[in-house]
């Protein structure tokens, strides 16, 4: 198949933002917080990152600012949900909608801006390997950072004490509280970390992936990232796999269209979302398995002994 290595490269690129956002949401959900505000956080971070890149010309600074913006927005969410015990679903949705409107408003003067020329990255020797070079080694560093983040999170969750405490809080905050752990503070830290990750993903999209700003440019990737965490049964490595699957199917539909495959383009457009639904259905067939994998306190408010 001609162009397969380019398809793989494009899929990796397309899946990276989803993977990073998915990781952030995974941290949240492992602590028991369901943060539906992913889309809003990504949008706010996207405009923050884009504005930074416009004014300073540095994409890395833009990523940092994006992370801060995402964390700031998620901090509001965290305070509401953890200390005031508002309904997590409703608050998350409100955050999403707020993020969308706020980013659109702040972004008005930036709609006509453009960023400078982007540097093409490639790993020196590996990029020249016949098939795998173009497929895997000519990506923006963020693609590799995403993979590193997934590995780091997996190590954190399963090999460190702090990760164990986080998972424990996600399973049973009451027990953790009884043991003396500061449940709310740890949950807030998880929310902030998750917000930072979503922010990084949002900034990546607006600065590197599609270097421009228009309102709503995240176009639903935040929601896909949310579905990803369930799809991945809350395991980091599976989040990465799911992100690449989704990115891959998205690019596959354009690849097929470009080769004149006689399937209606509308159907091909539907494929990524359809494949997500199919996998979710397959996973959900065994309800017991879902229950065994899902953090037990996901979405439930925690009242420390009141």
């Amino acid at each position: 198949m001609d162009g397969l290595e380019l398809l793989i490269a494009a899929s990796l690129n397309a899946g990276t933002a989803l993977a990073i956002a998915g990781i952030g949401l995974l941290i949240n959900e492992r602590a028991g917080i369901l943060n539906l505000g992913a889309e809003g956080m990504m949008l706010v971070a996207a405009i923050a990152g884009f504005a930074t890149a416009v004014h300073t010309g540095s994409p890395w600074l833009a990523f940092v600012v994006g992370m801060l913006a995402g964390a700031a927005l998620s901090a509001c969410f965290g305070v509401l949900v953890i200390w005031l015990n508002t309904n997590q679903v409703a608050t998350g949705l409100a955050l999403s909608i707020f993020g969308g409107g706020f980013s659109a408003f702040v972004g008005i003067p930036y709609v006509q801006e453009k960023l400078g020329e982007q540097t093409q990255f490639q790993i020196p020797l590996l990029a020249d390997i016949p098939f795998f070079g173009p497929a895997l080694f000519r990506q923006h560093p963020m693609v590799y950072i995403a993979i590193a983040l997934v590995a780091a999170l997996a190590w954190f969750l399963y090999c460190t004490r702090a990760g164990l405490v986080l998972r424990a809080i996600g399973e049973s905050p009451e027990s953790a509280h009884a043991l003396g752990y500061p449940v709310r503070r740890i949950r807030l830290m998880a929310v902030l970390a998750g917000g930072a990750m979503c922010g990084l993903a949002g900034a990546y999209i607006s600065v590197i992936y599609t270097p421009l700003w228009v309102e709503g440019m995240i176009a639903g990737k935040g929601w896909i990232a949310l579905a990803l965490t369930t799809f991945a049964t809350w395991r980091p490595a599976r989040v990465l796999l799911g992100a690449y699957l989704f990115g891959g199917v998205t690019m596959l539909q354009f690849y097929l269209q470009g080769r004149g495959v006689h399937v209606p383009s509308q159907f091909l457009s539907m494929l990524p979302y359809l494949s997500t639904v199919v996998v979710l259905v397959l996973i959900s067939r065994n309800a017991a398995w879902i229950r065994a994998n899902m953090p037990a306190s996901l979405g439930k408010s925690f009242f420390p002994g009141s």
Binding site: V214, F254, Q257, G258
Partner: protein
């Protein structure tokens, strides 16, 4: 914190938020309408008494995307600003952006009409049904629908012959392409877009008969991330000169990143891709808007018509042709443009075959507006089938 103090804190916080929201709602609005105290044409007594200072004509625009998209909507907004300058005090314009092509659009049009706007422009194909629903309820208002094909007594359609400029940039593409494959990022498979794909192909084939065209559909008028992915996949598939029918600058920027070429569409996009930009096929709505407003002001506005302007009337043009394009190509484009303007050249002329080999036009036949309006086939050289089938 006990439950009671928490509750009162929440109540106080709630009231503060509500108050703040009320203040904000009063101050800012997405629509750029001037202070509501301004004259409402419906307040008849003043208008009847003094013809010398008639209240300004209220004109409203509904945009599909943001005015800053630098594409389709930007072109409409530039035209709005131009007629605002031209007519000064005689008109008062306002616009609403990001109106989706759904039931929400109906609400927006109703709102515009009830606010006293008597000339309302709906700038996207998908507003046709909502406008058809709203127009009968406001017999005094005049509705103008872009790119549609249904009319009423107080609703008429207007469009631009963008296929002419698609043909012209196709000439440039045919000359500049090194791989012999050009690409089109298609928005939604409606006749307008299919026409543009065909015209682009015909233009390219007029200078290089072996040109092939690949098409990828994003199924949206405006979706920068998808447009980027689509453009990337076209480039991966071998296309080196891209055309778009979508509304953002993403395709151009992707071409720039990959060191390929592309064209600006609907507006001058040259500044977004200094190396990749070859030319921009722009639409200038100002001449038509000026005519429509003049007719509304002097009372000669008639509905039930469909106006389709092109190069001759100044509605379409190719601008900002890059210096990378050789002078002889620029001259050919200028020559063809002139013959389109005086009517001696028709883009869709016979003999014309579709890409399945079926004959559409015989030698010396010219496509009429009816055929063009419902065009649903790819010409020879375009890969693939029209989505939705070739039902005539």
């Amino acid at each position: 914190m006990t439950l009671n103090t928490k509750r009162s804190l929440l109540t106080r916080a709630g009231w503060t938020v509500l108050a703040a929201a009320a203040v904000l709602a009063g101050c800012g609005k997405k629509e750029e309408t001037p202070a509501p105290a301004a004259s409402a044409p419906a307040s008849a007594p003043v208008a009847a008494a003094a013809p010398a200072s008639a209240p300004p004509l209220k004109v409203a625009f509904a945009y599909l995307g943001p005015a800053g998209d630098h594409g389709w909507t930007y072109a409409h907004d530039e035209a709005r600003k131009a007629v605002e300058k031209e007519y000064g005090d005689k008109i008062q314009t306002s616009f609403v952006e990001n109106v989706p092509e759904s039931a929400d659009a109906e609400r927006v049009f109703r709102d515009m009409a009830t606010q006293g706007n008597t000339l309302i422009f709906g700038t996207s194909f998908g507003y046709m049904e909502p406008m058809l629903k709203v127009a009968p309820d406001f017999k005094d208002a005049k509705f103008e629908h872009a790119t549609g094909f249904k009319q009423l007594d107080n609703l008429r359609s207007y469009d631009s012959r963008s296929y002419m400029t698609a043909y012209l940039v196709g000439i440039i593409a045919g000359k500049m392409s090194k791989t012999g494959v050009v690409g089109v990022v298609g928005s939604i498979p409606v006749p307008e877009v299919i026409r543009n794909i065909d015209a682009y192909t015909l233009g390219a084939q007029s200078v290089n008969p072996k040109i092939k065209t690949k098409v990828v559909w994003v199924n949206s008028w405006f979706d920068p991330p998808k447009e980027t992915e689509a453009a990337q996949s076209l480039i991966n598939g071998g296309a080196d000169v891209l055309l778009q029918n979508t509304d953002s600058t993403a395709v151009l920027q992707t071409a720039e990143k990959n060191k390929k070429w592309a064209f600006g569409w609907d507006s001058d996009m040259s500044k977004f891709a200094p190396n990749a930009h070859l030319a921009s096929a722009v639409i200038n709505w100002a001449p038509y808007y000026s005519k429509a407003i003049k007719e509304a002001l002097d009372g000669s506005w008639k509905g039930n018509t469909a106006t389709w302007w092109g190069i001759k009337e100044g509605a379409n043009d190719v601008v900002a042709i890059s210096d990378q394009v050789p002078q002889d190509v620029k001259d050919l484009v200028a020559k063809t443009k002139a013959s389109m303007a005086d009517g001696s050249f028709n883009v869709f002329h016979g003999p014309l075959l579709d890409n399945a080999g079926k004959e559409i036009l015989k030698k010396d036949e010219v496509a009429d507006d009816k055929l063009l309006g419902g065009l649903n086939f790819y010409v020879k050289g375009v890969d693939g089938k029209v989505p939705g089938g070739d039902k005539k």
